[in-house]
């Protein structure tokens, strides 16, 4: 079943004289429970697309349906935002309260959930992102990765079916990035929450089931990561790169070393290289 469906979705920010088209007839369907990564050069319209998913922006042309709700249906606005949560790049600018657990409760307070239920859900959400022991702390004293996990918990407490994350790791150190990615993956696998991850780190995109490449408001590639990253040249033309492990294999191939498989992680890459070298060695021995 599709949780997000767009039909010829178009959008432009209205300005006085020039009207640049930011989204240009997008047709993107996303399956419930899937993990989709969206990549694209700066200004390609990724954030603009994300903001359409929970009706922060409304389409200028075409339509977008999320969890069966047309986003331009004002009556169902809060139902929509409850089912499709959003996490942003800067963790400082999305934390509202001065105590971790109270921030996680913010969305629930807005939905007028009663207090007992609220305490239950806050506890569950904080445990799911591994921040329960920090529940009494002040958010501004946490690390970037911890703050971002609090932001995820705040969305999670609303029990969404889908979470959209707009470059959630862009301001984090490697440790924080790892924490956030692990959290996202476990939410997808264990809680069956649909994930849409916008990122400019290719190794993060490689962890998704599907990668969508946006360029100038149009979909340029839409396939599993292995197929997308095979097109290294074309991606470079769009100002994008491929994961280091993939790039290494491509470079070796150019040198005439025959590795067939596309590799996405350092581990896969090492295994492939090893198997090839073993091949060469056995041939030499003969």
């Amino acid at each position: 079943m599709n949780i997000i469906e767009t039909k010829e979705l178009s959008f432009s920010y209205k300005r006085e004289n020039d009207e640049k088209v930011v989204l240009d007839g997008l047709n993107i369907d996303i399956k419930e429970g899937s993990f989709t990564a969206i990549i694209g050069h700066n200004g390609s319209g990724k954030s603009t697309f994300a903001k359409h998913i929970n009706a922060i922006l409304l389409p200028c042309g075409g339509s977008i349906t999320v969890c069966g709700i047309d986003t331009s249906d004002e009556k169902k606005l809060y139902e929509l935002r409850k089912s499709a949560g959003m996490v942003f790049q800067n963790p400082d600018n999305q934390i509202v309260a001065t105590i971790v657990e109270e921030d996680v409760a913010f969305g629930l307070e807005n939905l007028a959930i009663d207090r007992e239920e609220m305490h239950r859900r806050v506890e569950a959400a904080l445990k799911a992102v591994n921040m329960y022991e920090h529940r009494k702390r002040a958010p501004h004293l946490l690390s970037g990765g911890q703050k971002q996990r609090v932001a995820i918990a705040g969305i999670l407490a609303m029990q969404p079916r889908c979470i959209v994350l707009d470059e959630p790791t862009a301001m984090l150190d490697p440790q924080g990035r790892r924490e956030v990615m692990d959290t996202i993956l476990s939410l997808n696998r264990e809680n069956n929450i649909t994930i849409v991850l916008i990122t400019h780190y290719m190794d993060e995109a490689a962890k998704a089931d599907r990668v969508i490449v946006l360029d100038k408001g149009k979909v340029r590639f839409d396939a599993p990561p292995r197929e997308v990253f095979r097109e290294e040249e074309k991606l470079r033309d769009l100002g994008l790169s491929v994961p280091d492990s993939t790039a290494l294999v491509h470079a070796l191939r150019k040198k005439g070393i025959n590795i067939e498989k596309e590799t996405l992680t350092p581990k896969e890459c090492a295994e492939e290289i090893l198997s090839v070298t073993v091949d060469i060695r056995t041939r030499l021995k003969r």
Binding site: K51, N54, I56, Y78, R81, K82, G85, M86, F88, N90, D92, N93, Q94, I95, V96, A97, T98, I99, E101, E102, A105, F106, G107, L108, E109, N110, L111, A112, I113, D114, R115, M118, H119, V122, A138, H140, G154, I155, M158
Partner: protein, 267 residues
Amino acid sequence: MIRDITIGQYYSTDSVVHKMDPRTKILWTLLYMVMLFVVDSIYSYGVIIAFTAMVIKISHIPLKYILRGLKPILFLVIFTAFLNLFLVDEGKVIFEKGIFSITEGGLWLAIKMAVRITLLIMGTSLLTLSTTPTVLTSGMESLLSPLKKIGVPVSVFVMMISIALRFIPTLLDETDKIIKAQTSRGADFENGNPIKRIKAMIPILVPLFVSAFRRADDLAVAMECRCYNSDAPRTSYRKLEFGINDLSALCFGIIMVCTLVLIEVVS
């Protein structure tokens, strides 16, 4: 210097003062302001200073920490004291030189005003130091809720205050970073005449404002995403409990105001 600002900061201890209902503390702060307004004689000053010292003692907040919060307003205190000292012309003249003269009345008033402002800041910072911003604002909301009936947007007002309190540490950190960045490029904030120094603030204020507006924009979107609607009814994660401690504290406060008024009438 930026780090000295303790307005709206919370200092965690588990004292009786910290555990009190925020509504009691807010009302007490108001009573305290009334007291400061009433006091005039040296006796009532004695009473109120002794009382303030006692509350600080039982709150377990180090006096040094509270005094640090006074630093930013030290200038204001000294300035008003000087104005009173030289401009008030009352009673015996104790010092005279040219057009300047200090009278007994002026000296007394200067001391009184300085003590008043100091106590006012100490009293109000005790409120924020002993209460987390969220608890404080839910206390405010509860106290102001009768105004909702006549259409005053209390919840919006309270949300504004709580966000302001939430962003004070963030913006202070940012100011600190900007100051360091500009200093490392050779900006000089310490020397020169006042006009020069005020001019030197511009390269701090401009980036600070730009970033504050960007933050505000981001925050508004993030709040919308989390279903915030200022018109809709909300529930509260925290429950406020008004206990016997609170009742006795308030009674004590009212008795104290009456006593101070009595002292003033008698003397």
